[in-house]
């Protein structure tokens, strides 16, 4: 992994002539964790899809670029809300999916090492349908880590988990993705308050920045500063149109 670059997206997007988001400017600092918080339907996911190079259905006017000027292709990994595990592959093969899809040799040792880091080394030969929802999302995290990309795009990856699994996944992801440029799209104020070095609020008015507490993420979920920040984020969301 090379030095993690910053990311910039500025412009407007339409789908079939209808505006998805207006002129906005998103700046994601390199090597840091940025949460993009906003209500459903505000275009957060579309924005993330554009960065990932997926928005074929979106008419986008503007610029998308990395801070170091090099192309984004091949430097990103994506983790979505659904774990997207392939039911016909065992856990080891699921983790090594990227290598399989690029025709590279199966990286057995690395797959095992990465699964060990998410605490699932014993499950290497099992099928996804034998795992719990939280375990499956840990496998998805391991698959993201296997890609070893400087930029990681997270699209509400923990929103389908129960509160306890979610808090654990947040801690694990913060630890394992440290040092990469992370853009984390979420609609959960508590999650944004815990996770972001930088927290951005996306509403119909555009993207605005909030000031997180000084503590480094992942912040304790029950610390007064975290809770106060969470409340502040929710207030700002409520007051926006």
């Amino acid at each position: 992994m090379n030095a993690a670059p910053s990311l910039r997206l500025a412009g407007r997007a339409r789908i079939d002539g209808t505006a998805v988001f207006g002129p906005v400017a998103l700046d994601v600092p390199g090597g840091r964790w940025t949460c993009l918080l906003g209500p459903s339907g505000v275009g957060k996911s579309t924005l993330l899809r554009l960065l990932a190079g997926l928005g074929d259905e979106v008419a986008f006017e503007g610029e998308i670029a990395a801070g170091d000027g090099a192309p984004l292709d091949g430097r990103m990994a994506l983790m979505a809300q659904s774990d997207l595990l392939m039911p016909w592959l065992d856990i080891g093969a699921n983790v090594a999916l990227g290598a399989r899809l690029r025709g590279e040799a199966h990286p057995h040792d690395r797959a095992r090492a990465v699964l060990t880091r998410v605490g699932l080394a014993d499950h290497l030969g099992k099928r996804p349908n034998t795992l719990s929802g939280g375990q499956r999302q840990r496998v998805a995290l391991a698959r993201t880590l296997m890609e070893d990309r400087a930029i990681v795009l997270l699209d509400e990856p923990f929103s389908a988990l129960d509160a306890r699994s979610r808090a654990r996944m947040q801690d694990l992801a913060a630890e394992l993705l440290a040092g990469r440029t992370v853009l984390h799209v979420t609609h959960d104020t508590a999650e944004a308050a815990r996770m972001g070095h930088q927290v951005l609020l996306m509403t119909r008015d555009g993207i605005a920045s909030a000031s997180p507490p000084d503590a480094a993420p992942p912040r304790p979920y029950d610390a007064p500063e975290t809770l106060a920040f969470q409340g502040q984020l929710l207030r700002r969301l409520m007051e926006a149109q």
Binding site: R49, L54, L78, L84, M86, L101
Partner: protein, 243 residues
Amino acid sequence: MRQAVRAAGVALLALVAWQALVTLADLPRFILPGPAAVFSTLWVSRELIAGHALVTAIEVLAGLGLGAALGFVSAILLAVSPLARSLLRPMLVFSQAVPVFALAPILTLWLGYGLWSKVVMALLIIYFPVTSAFFDALMRTPQGWLELARVMGATPARVMLRIRVPAAMPGFASGLRLAAVYAPIGAIIGEWVGASQGLGYLMLLANGRAKIDLMFAALIVLAVLTLLLHAAVDTACRRLWDD
């Protein structure tokens, strides 16, 4: 287990009703023989019937194998290439508008009285259900998988091989299950039109000589063969793609 008991119960009930009909209506043997007569013929003529059943089984299995393979390849071609879709799809639909039954005499003319006209009949009758079931499944790959693959830098060929085909195997399996029931129909039609061997030929022969008990015996063997084939295909599909 309970299902097996229930099936046995239903079969027994059908046999009793059959025998009752024959006895009460006093039907002559050349119109409708009772189950006892049919099963006794089945036993007495077991070598004759087994020989013909083997021929039919080979035709059905060959037709099923070739039709499934051809359907598999066609569906992938259709899924890969818009050109193939625009050329082949109307042909596929047209081929369904022509009753396969009507083709049997022509196939016999072209391929002769032997094995191949029946194999091709079975193949033709299963080709469409297999192709369309698999093709539909190939076109319904979950979007999330395709997008993940794109971000990972996969080539279209590998996406097809590693994601779309395996994800569509349950669809292929449902096509195969239908094919297992249809393939014997194709083979039997082929045998009716022109053959010197096979259960269809035997049934036609027995019918012509008023040996209705032999015709029914052959029919029962055919039904059992079809059920066994369907069960085998179903089990194999379940094992392989646990859907």
